[in-house]
Amino acid sequence: MLKGHLDAIVLAALEAGPAHGYAIIEAIKRRSAGTFDLPEGTVYPALHRLEQAGLLSSAWTTPPNGRRRRVYSITKAGSAALTERRKAWGRFSLAVDTALEGGRP
């Protein structure tokens, strides 16, 4: 179930600012309080897919005392897509909540 929403979760993790792959997966784990403990490598196909779709951009950077890293940033199109996905998720989760609450058919 998580897989279908991974792209939106990755976009949301990058909303706070640019980050590299390891930081993104750590942010996802932290924000979900450890619930989304998915294999770390699964984030890379999502990052690549989002970049191909123009929702993310990326560039290599080399910090003064560190290794060369590829850092991802959310684009304007990515922010717009995230807003849309939040709205869609809101409608969907409301419908599921209502259905699960039971009551009269």
Partner: protein
């Protein structure tokens, strides 16, 4: 001496060999990730810390398979766009030939070339439209479309005897455009076939 991270990165690089640029980029990125993860492990520095980082990352074949599936989708999109352009150009070229032939070099009615020219094109168009709605990743459907267009274009060129009959420049140019597009389309269909085979192999071995 290589450690678990080096081995993992080398394996992933090999499994992504369907896209060398992606393989190079991802190998570097994943190595960076794994070294960060290993350094955050309480057992760092040790092969055990590297092994745990690799385990948390997931099976290289599954990650490569996800990239391969995305590559199939992209290749399929490129192939369909090229097919659509080829169909339009073939239709225009066919009309230009017919207009010119009507004026000058009417082919004999008994000749089979005009029939192949027309009906192979219609078959390619029909299969293409059906496949667009139902089987967008179908290599067989794309191969049928390609075969139909090759037959149509070949028959059209033979019918008009283009290279010997002093056809006007616009007719020759449209035929050259058809041939060039068929080349590009063949290249994309072959590429899609390779990517589909690669994806199937990664999935099968990963099971």
């Amino acid at each position: 001496m290589s450690g678990p991270i080096d081995d993992y990165v080398a394996t992933l690089h090999r499994e992504l060999d369907f896209d060398p640029a992606l393989a190079r980029r991802l190998a570097s990125e994943v190595e960076d990730h794994l070294r960060d993860a290993a350094e955050a492990d309480p057992a760092w520095p040790s092969p055990e810390a590297e092994r745990r980082a690799v385990e948390r990352f997931g099976l290289s074949r599954e990650i490569a398979a996800q990239f391969a599936v995305d590559a199939v989708d992209r290749q399929a999109r490129r192939t369909w766009v090229t097919l659509a352009v080829t169909v339009v150009v073939t239709f225009v070229a066919m009309r230009l030939r017919v207009i010119w032939l009507d004026d000058d070099v009417l082919a004999p009615l008994t000749n089979i070339a005009p029939l192949i020219d027309r009906y192979a094109f219609i078959a390619a168009l029909t299969v293409g439209v059906i496949a667009w709605f139902a089987f967008r990743r179908s290599l067989a459907a794309l191969a049928i479309c390609l075969g139909g267009l090759v037959a149509s274009i070949g028959a059209g060129i033979v019918r008009a005897d283009l290279f010997a009959s002093g056809a006007p420049v616009h007719v020759l140019l449209s035929a050259a455009g058809e041939i060039a597009l068929i080349g590009v389309l063949s290249f994309h269909v072959i590429g899609l076939g390779r990517r589909l085979r690669h994806t199937a192999l990664l999935r099968r071995v990963g099971q």
